[in-house]
Symmetry: C2
Subunit: 198 residues, 2 copies
């Protein structure tokens, strides 16, 4: 183990990286993606302006790390929601959790999935069993006959992703907007889950 | 009628505005939203650099007009797709058309629905009967009992919007990506349409 010394604080190597990502996540929701710079992250973490360059080449590199943490947080959120005994209900709760994640952390959600980085989107997470995608796919796979699984997983993801985007960006109609986002998400995913081919 | 004279071309009042929006739509898909400026639109339309200011205060104002034209084009596209005799099939064709619209004109789609403008999204179109939303909603309303209509319309829109976003942004898994976007869109919306409560 070695220690990075800076003017104001000292971090072990991995800790500084974690501290910068945590700080970036807070700055993001407080001030938006434009205000998030390596310098601002350094200031927030209490280290010198040059210290972030030990871990991140530039802002895009920091945003990729932020997106990676976002994927992990979304995965944890879906896993925690996926507890109902009835598998259709578990799918509904996953969908509600997905939409609420986007609403609670819109700037992070846009970085994970949107075109916030211009042409450079963050690398997408591998669709492994342990990812957010894997948790959603496993639940759908248990409900749907094999030949329809691929389409059903894409449909389930599209449904919750589309609802999250339309809600976050304020695109829904006034009538739909009048319901609480959680109620609307529950109705929409409930209707979808009930219609899945058995 | 009066005529706007510029160095290089002369347009009637409304024609210059239309010409600038048409030029902006081309520039957008060729060079991206960053390259689209009032100056570039003027150059493309063959008028002086100052001429666009007769119609647009700034770039955001031009982008709002571009989005408005996009809503109209999407509405026309959905209306043309909505011709199948079987109402479920008509809904599927609308969904496919929505996804293909996004794929063919990704920069326009992002301006219409994304956060391309930073905090300033273009005004959303009114959810009237003649809008893209209205065409989709009418088709769903004919399929679903009244008490489930609102949720079903939001679900249908979320489904195709989410699939469009995930496809345009390259977020789907390699397996799903292997299918042609049209085939995948047809499978996904077909599965959804078949599951709607009758």
């Amino acid at each position: 183990m070695f220690t990075v010394s800076t003017e104001k604080a000292a971090y072990h190597h991995g800790n500084l990286r974690d501290a910068l990502v945590r700080t970036a996540l807070s700055l993001l929701e407080e001030s938006g993606v434009e205000a998030l710079t390596l310098r601002a992250a350094a200031r927030g973490a209490g280290v010198s302006a040059m210290a972030p360059y030990r871990h991140f080449a530039d802002k895009a590199d920091l945003l990729a790390a932020v997106a990676e943490q976002g994927y992990a947080d979304l995965r944890d959120r879906l896993a925690r929601a996926d507890t109902a005994a009835d598998p259709r209900q578990a799918l509904v709760e996953q969908g509600v959790a997905y939409v609420l994640f986007a609403l609670e952390r819109p700037a992070l959600f846009r970085i994970m999935f949107g075109a916030s980085l211009g042409s450079g989107l963050p690398p997408k997470p591998p669709p492994t069993a342990g990812s957010a995608y894997g948790i959603l796919a496993a639940r759908v796979a248990g409900l749907v006959p094999e030949e329809k699984r691929e389409a059903a997983v894409v449909a389930a993801w599209s449904l919750v992703h589309g609802l999250a985007c339309l809600t976050v960006d304020g695109r829904l109609t006034p009538q739909a907007d009048a319901a609480s986002p959680e109620t609307l998400a529950r109705q929409v995913t409930g209707l979808f889950a009930a219609g899945l081919p058995a």
